[in-house]
């Protein structure tokens, strides 16, 4: 059991929005956010798209999907659903589900009562906690009694917490009505294929109606149930997001078809995640040497699907282990023994007051970005650059380069700053590696970026980064991310024009393999 960490049960994730949805939301609210493209549109074009108006209403201010909200709200997971009803080649069932959670890590299992108590304790201490998710370590719908009991207990005391769940979809059609009755806010289905031949390479078996089905037969049942479940959710007006794991050589090209299939059935967001695979995870793919995609391959696929529907690029797959906002971990305060004999006073009013303050801060951030974007208006350039940002959350550049466990990557163009993903560097910075090595790995992870925006950075790494062609920038310390990124871009374009710097096509970057483990 080497390398297996007992993880805190409370898993809190800071939510990130889909870049497309972000832009749509911005466009919807501000009209001029598309500024600089020369054809500022008001809600049309990249606006609401073909989302139904009532879905649009639901997501435009949703903490999970709204651009300005995502840095201020957090989600928490509780591990009440240990059993699973399918087998995936990217998963080792001795640990948590590799692509829903963290490979090589075991969550402490909770009873619904323990889970509810924990959620209330966290929510009354951390007012940002507004979304509760059940995602595993198995499949929530393979554990319906535990999953729905947890929802019931939480809904009773904390009606303001939004509920969500992630499922493989096999049992979804049978549970859609229960999901509707619990007023579940949104459901995520992991759909890796619609072609059973491809499915057979991903799923060795499914357990359905008291039988184990293998190969193409099993994959066919799974796929039919997933798509049926998705349609049923859509019919009932429940938001549905689709996750897909990108497995090069297996389903990478096929995911464009999956994208079409889920879009036509009403999924409002599609999140393509890279396969996480290493031999030490003990998964089938890990052992057969199946590789995950590079950052560029992933982005190319996401870009390829983007015309078809909303893509989500925020998923860091495993940032589910900390309690608190990005970069802070308070899970030690919420261990089961500490929670169980604590009186929890759930104070709705204080939470509301906090959340109102957050709204103000969000508006300020939008305004700042808006003002900065206007300075780009009229600017014409085909240049696109990626920058990495060190942040602890709140939408500001507020993390020291050397302390960053991950970087947020933004794509900058005259259309503005678009969030395109995370690059995690956590594992590399921990024990076993010398300082030098860890810097190398950070560089590999953000090798495709022209600059890294940080709150602070030492002289030595500065030098090394410059040599690697990545400009360290600390002059925007503590400023809003997007506003600063756009300002940086404007200067960059100026410098290219005056010939002070040369714009070069960046290299590819490596996607970190392994779980994000709380330090």
């Amino acid at each position: 059991m080497q390398g297996v960490a007992q993880q805190p049960v409370v898993q809190l994730t800071v939510l990130q929005p889909s870049s497309e949805t972000m832009q749509k939301i911005a466009g919807h609210k501000g009209c001029a956010t598309q500024g600089g493209s020369g054809k500022a549109s008001c809600g049309s074009g990249a606006g609401q798209g073909d989302l139904a108006p009532e879905i649009w209403e639901k997501i435009k201010n949703h903490p999970c999907y709204s651009e300005e909200a995502h840095h201020h709200y957090a989600r928490m997971h509780v591990a009440v659903a240990p059993a699973c009803n399918i087998q995936c080649n990217y998963c080792n069932r001795k640990y948590d589900c590799a692509n829903e959670s963290r490979p090589g890590v075991v969550s402490e299992k909770l009873t619904p009562e323990q889970a509810a108590k924990k959620v209330l304790a966290v929510a009354s201490t951390i007012p940002q906690m507004t979304v509760l998710g059940i995602a595993g370590p198995g499949d929530p719908l393979a554990n319906p009694a535990k999953t729905f009991k947890t929802f019931e207990l939480i809904a009773k005391t904390a009606p303001d917490i939004k509920l969500c769940l992630s499922t493989n979809g096999l049992m979804l059609p049978d549970r859609v009505d229960t999901i509707k009755n619990f007023n579940v806010d949104h459901v995520t289905i992991t759909i890796n294929m619609t072609d059973p031949e491809i499915g057979a390479k991903i799923y060795p078996w499914v357990y359905y109606k008291h039988k184990r089905y293998t190969g193409v037969e099993g994959a066919k049942i799974l796929s039919e149930r997933q798509l049926q479940g998705l349609e049923m959710l859509t019919e009932r007006g429940i938001l549905c997001k689709v996750n897909s794991v990108m497995i090069p050589g297996v389903n990478d090209k096929h995911l464009v078809e999956v994208n079409r299939a889920v879009k036509s059935r009403g999924a409002f967001l599609h999140n393509i995640m890279p396969l996480i695979s290493a031999p030490e995870h003990g998964t089938v793919f890990g052992l057969t040497g199946q590789r995950g995609p590079s950052a560029q391959e992933l982005k190319a696929l996401q870009d390829g699907c983007e015309g078809e529907m909303n893509m989500m690029r925020h998923c860091r797959q495993c940032r589910a282990d900390a309690v608190g906002l990005l970069g802070e971990d308070r899970s030690a305060e919420f261990t089961t023994d500490k929670i169980m004999d604590r009186e929890v006073d759930y104070d709705l009013e204080t939470r509301k007051a906090y959340q109102e303050k957050v709204e103000e801060e969000r508006q300020a951030k939008v305004a700042a970005k808006q003002a900065e974007l206007e300075t780009l208006a009229g600017e014409r350039s085909d240049i696109k650059v990626l920058v990495a940002v060190a942040t602890k959350g709140s939408g500001r550049i507020n993390e020291h380069f050397g302390h960053a466990k991950e970087f947020q990557v933004y794509e900058l163009s005259t259309a503005g700053a678009k969030f395109v993903g995370h690059r995690r560097v956590d594992l590399y910075c921990q024990g076993g590696y010398g300082e030098e090595d860890s810097l190398d790995t950070v560089i590999r992870a953000i090798n495709d970026c022209a600059a890294v925006l940080v709150a602070k950075i030492g002289g030595c790494p500065k030098e090394t980064l410059r040599k690697a062609g990545i400009e360290p920038v600390d002059k925007y310390a503590l400023e809003f991310i997007e506003q600063s990124a756009i300002a940086y871009f404007r200067e960059y374009v100026e410098k290219v024009k005056t010939g002070e710097i040369q714009h070069v096509e960046p290299g590819d970057a490596a996607i970190r393999q392994g779980a994000l483990v709380a330090a």
Partner: protein, 74 residues
């Protein structure tokens, strides 16, 4: 006449517990266990032993050779 669980393989995922038609399976310390007095090898209920079909780890729910095979009552 019974199945048994190889304790060192069991992940305590509880999947088998919910599927057993005879409520023969329960949690114990670090693994789940099958009560041999209750297990009917699923005979009379399903074609396949459910614990075997649902268990994510191969060779974890196995026939316990200590007991003779279960005979359905005629």
């Amino acid at each position: 006449m019974a199945y048994t669980i190889v304790a060192e393989n069991c992940t305590s995922c509880a999947a088998c517990e919910a599927e057993c038609p005879n409520v023969a399976i329960s949690a114990k310390d670090f693994a789940f266990v099958i009560n041999p007095k209750k297990c009917t090898e699923c005979i009379g209920y399903f074609d396949d032993p459910q614990c075997v079909a649902v268990c994510p780890i191969d060779a974890t729910c196995i026939i316990d050779t200590v007991y003779p095979r279960y005979q359905a009552r005629a």
